[in-house]
Structures are given as C-alpha cells and as structure tokens.
Symmetry: C2
Subunit: 274 residues, 2 copies
C-alpha cells in the first residue's frame, strides 16, 4: 500500500498555508528533497548546508537545522523509507514584490512514498528525452534550488512515454546543463565532467558528492561547459539525484550506450551517509 | 482604516491551500491584478481573456469566467474600491514535475486595499531605479503573467528608498523590457513605443489598452526592441499598470524629464471600462 503524503507547516499539522505566502505568489523560496530512513535524513548536513546557502542567496532567513530535523523526525516516525521535501519560503507578505521588513519564513516538510522506480533503471540504465525547451540564463538564480520551476514543468510535458526516465536540458547556446530532475555527468576515458551551472541549472547535493568521490573510482572530475556532441561522444553518461542515486543513460534518441559499471559503482559509494 | 486582506480558495472561505499545490511547489500557475469598484472588475473581459491565454500557454484549464466573477462579487460585496488578484494554479499534484492526468486547477481570489500611492506620483510623476538585475530570455514564458517571479523579487530588493516608485529592467543584451510591476512606453515626438516582450517580460492588460488608444491621442504606437539610450532620449517615459493607470517617469539616476501631459491624458482614457 502506498503511503499517504503528509506535511507539517511550521512544525504543525493544524496550520494552513495561505495564498498570501510569497512562496505561492512569486515562487519566493527554496527546497530540497532527500530520502529518510527511520527518521534519519541521508546526508543531512550536506542538504542543510545547501538549503542555507540557497536561502542566503535570496535573502531568506533559513530555519535552524534543529527545527527542521525535529519536523522530519515527527512526520516520519518509524517509517522505514520515505521521500521528504523541505520547502522554505520567505513567508507571508502584503501586496507587491517588496520584501517585508519583518518576514517570518514558512517552513514546510512533506513526506511522500519513495518513487516507485523500475528496477531496470538501476540494472540496465535508462532512456532519456532530449528536451526542446532551452533553459534561460539567469546567473543570479543559477545553481539555486528555488521554487521558480516552470521550465522544468514545461520540459517534463514534452513526453508521456513511461519508458523515458528523464529529459536532457540544454541552454539557448546549446550547452548541456542537466536533466529535469537530475544532474548529469559524462565520462570520456578517465575524465568525468559535469556541466558548469553558473548561468542556469540546479546544483544538487549528489552532483557535489559525485565530484568529490570521483578520485576514489580513478576518475578526474571537472566542472565545465560542453555541448551535445561532447555528450554523444561520451563513453558513459550518468544522471544522478538524491533519491535514486545514479543511473546510467543508455538511450537518447538514436544514440545507445553499452552497459557500463560506473552508475553501480557510484550508487555503492552514494549509499554511504556523510 | 486599512481593509483586511481576504481570500477565497475555489470559491470558499473554509478551504485551505496545501503545500501539495503545484502553484507553491513550482510556481505552476498564473495571475492577474485589477481594481474592483462595488463588485465590478474594471475591464473584466480583457483581464479574463489574458488569464485564459496565459493558462492555455501553460496547459492549465482556466476556470470559467462566471465562477471567477462570482468569487469576486462574493469577496468584494459592497466594498467601494479594492485591489483584487486572481491566481490560477494547475492544482495539487503528487511528487515530481510530471503534470497529473486529472489535475483540478486551484482558483484563488484575494482582495486587498488599493495601494496607497502618493498623490504626486500622479500629478508630478515618479522616480525610477535602473535595476542591475537583467531579465533572462525564455521565449516559452515571455509575456505570461506566471507565478515564477523571483527576478521581480530580486530586482525589487535593489532599492529601499520609498521615493522610488519602480525599477526599470533590461535584458542581458541591454534591451529595455519593463518595470518590476508595470509596463513601459517611450514617446519620441508623435511616436509611442513599448518594448517587444517575445523573449521576456509580462504583457499587461494596460499595455495593450495604451497601444490601442494611442491614435486617439495623435500618436503612432509601436512594439519594438530598444536600448537604454533610446529611453534616455525620449521626450516622455510612461509606466503603466492596471492599478495606477499611468505615471510619467520624471527621474532615473541623473536624467530628469520635464512634466508632460501624456500620463494624465492616458489615465483619463484608461478610466473608461471596456
């Protein structure tokens, strides 16, 4: 039986979100998603650090880690495994874009069932769609996991085939940036590269972990710009996020890659809590 | 005494918004703001048409006009004058960007007091700030009054001086686009020009009305790209939106414009309900 989605707003079951919340009005907030096992967040310190940095970039006061951890423990209880999303908004405001002098951030913790990923996604790799939508360049918001996600929504509307696991997003210049719900890595020989996210894209915690663990797998890791041809010429392509870990991209359009070992090796390392 | 902000969600006072609403999660929705006098929306048909078109652009089913009009009448009652905002989101959804097969849009109607604009904004014109933030180009979202408004929020954070009425926004190429909460027109002789909004910006109802009424004032109206120098060289600069109508821009940085008559003449025509 699937778990019902449950949520806490500012730590309470009985508090409602109002349409005056700037999270709704303007997408004025940030979020993080991660697995929780028996009340314990996988890689909590990394997720909280990123949440804090994203809040800081928007001038939002990030709730204390202990408050959020308390909320997660309260809502997850003895649940064996859940997908939890934390949303922090700037809070309620009056009309207009001006930030209230005394805004009280809204913290929201949502517990859902872990997505029911097909087992072959892990054992055989996935098919991805090359999205038509091109990401806009906004250096002031690049990298931040903020609530302005219409580009991801429109990109995700480009396919309905359930055999497609995610969609690759390019920017207007044709640079590869990410997938709609994951970050990308390409391996050419011993070189592992992930796109530069200084103009657009979301910098996930798992992307950072993969960059750090690459040397353990004998790989030189780099962050740089590259185009679609560079992706197509890769020996292996990996999509990663905090919920599924890492999948090998096996098919995109006519391009097919042989089964490799990198995704499984990454998942093995990503399992560690750090 | 200031009016309390009130709202209806799906036509009801007793329905709460939940954090599963995609309007919060992704900014997956659109909005419109307008004045309401004694329950009657100024230029309702135009606002509803734009709301419907924006919904259509995102694949959201727009609520029927009669439902929204009923909500507005219910919440405004005998109120002499109010600022009303309609928000339509794609509704609640499960985890992930994929659009639910059977999503039920959420309609929200919020009544606030009309902003307390200083009288000199109308009689003497306004000062504007030239924003540092540059708008990103996303043709798929350009023109739409959607809920992804972090750029406006960040731009509005650039000034605190209450004497500054709005901020002028350029795109990354230096083209003039709009202000944070209004559209812009520049007059050079008998030519009135408003920026092309096919790459970024929000196309307001008042912008369209000004374009249509320009001939009544002996002006040739155009939509085209122009840069900051073209704005600085204008005989008159006008900011417009549905709440304040039209203001003359009198000061931006060191540039000062003489008091003109265009803003007042536009306001006079904009008063008409059509």
């Amino acid at each position: 039986m699937r778990m019902n989605t449950q949520y806490l707003i500012n730590g309470r079951h009985d508090v409602a979100l109002t349409p005056l919340d700037r999270g709704l009005a303007y997408g004025d907030g940030v979020f993080r998603t991660f697995p929780v096992r028996l009340g314990k967040v996988h890689c909590w310190e990394r997720h909280y650090r990123q949440l804090s940095e994203d809040c800081k970039a928007l001038g939002i006061v990030c709730p204390q880690a202990s408050l959020l951890q308390h909320d997660v423990a309260l809502i997850c209880g003895e649940t064996e495994l859940a997908a939890v999303k934390i949303i922090v908004t700037r809070g309620e405001g009056a009309r207009g874009y001006a930030v209230p002098a005394l805004s009280q951030p809204t913290r929201i913790v949502i517990k859902s069932a872990m997505p029911d990923y097909p087992e072959p996604h892990f054992t055989e790799g996935v098919r991805v769609h090359l999205c038509q939508l091109r990401l806009a360049e906004q250096p002031r918001l690049a990298g931040i996991k903020h609530l302005n996600r219409l580009e991801n929504v429109l990109a995700r509307m480009e396919w309905v085939d359930p055999k497609i696991a995610d969609g690759v997003l390019l920017d207007a210049e044709g640079r590869v940036i990410e997938c709609t719900m994951s970050n990308l890595f390409v391996r050419h020989g011993n070189t592992l590269t992930t796109p530069d996210l200084s103009r657009c894209g979301v910098a996930g915690v798992t992307r950072q972990r993969v960059l750090e663990m690459a040397p353990l797998l004998g790989l030189d890791a780099h962050v740089s710009n590259f185009d679609l041809d560079h992706l197509l010429a890769a020996d292996e392509v990996i999509a990663c996020n905090s919920l599924f870990g890492a999948w090998q991209v096996r098919h995109m359009g006519d391009r097919t890659w042989e089964v490799g070992t990198l995704a499984a090796r990454l998942r093995n390392l990503l399992e560690q809590d750090e």
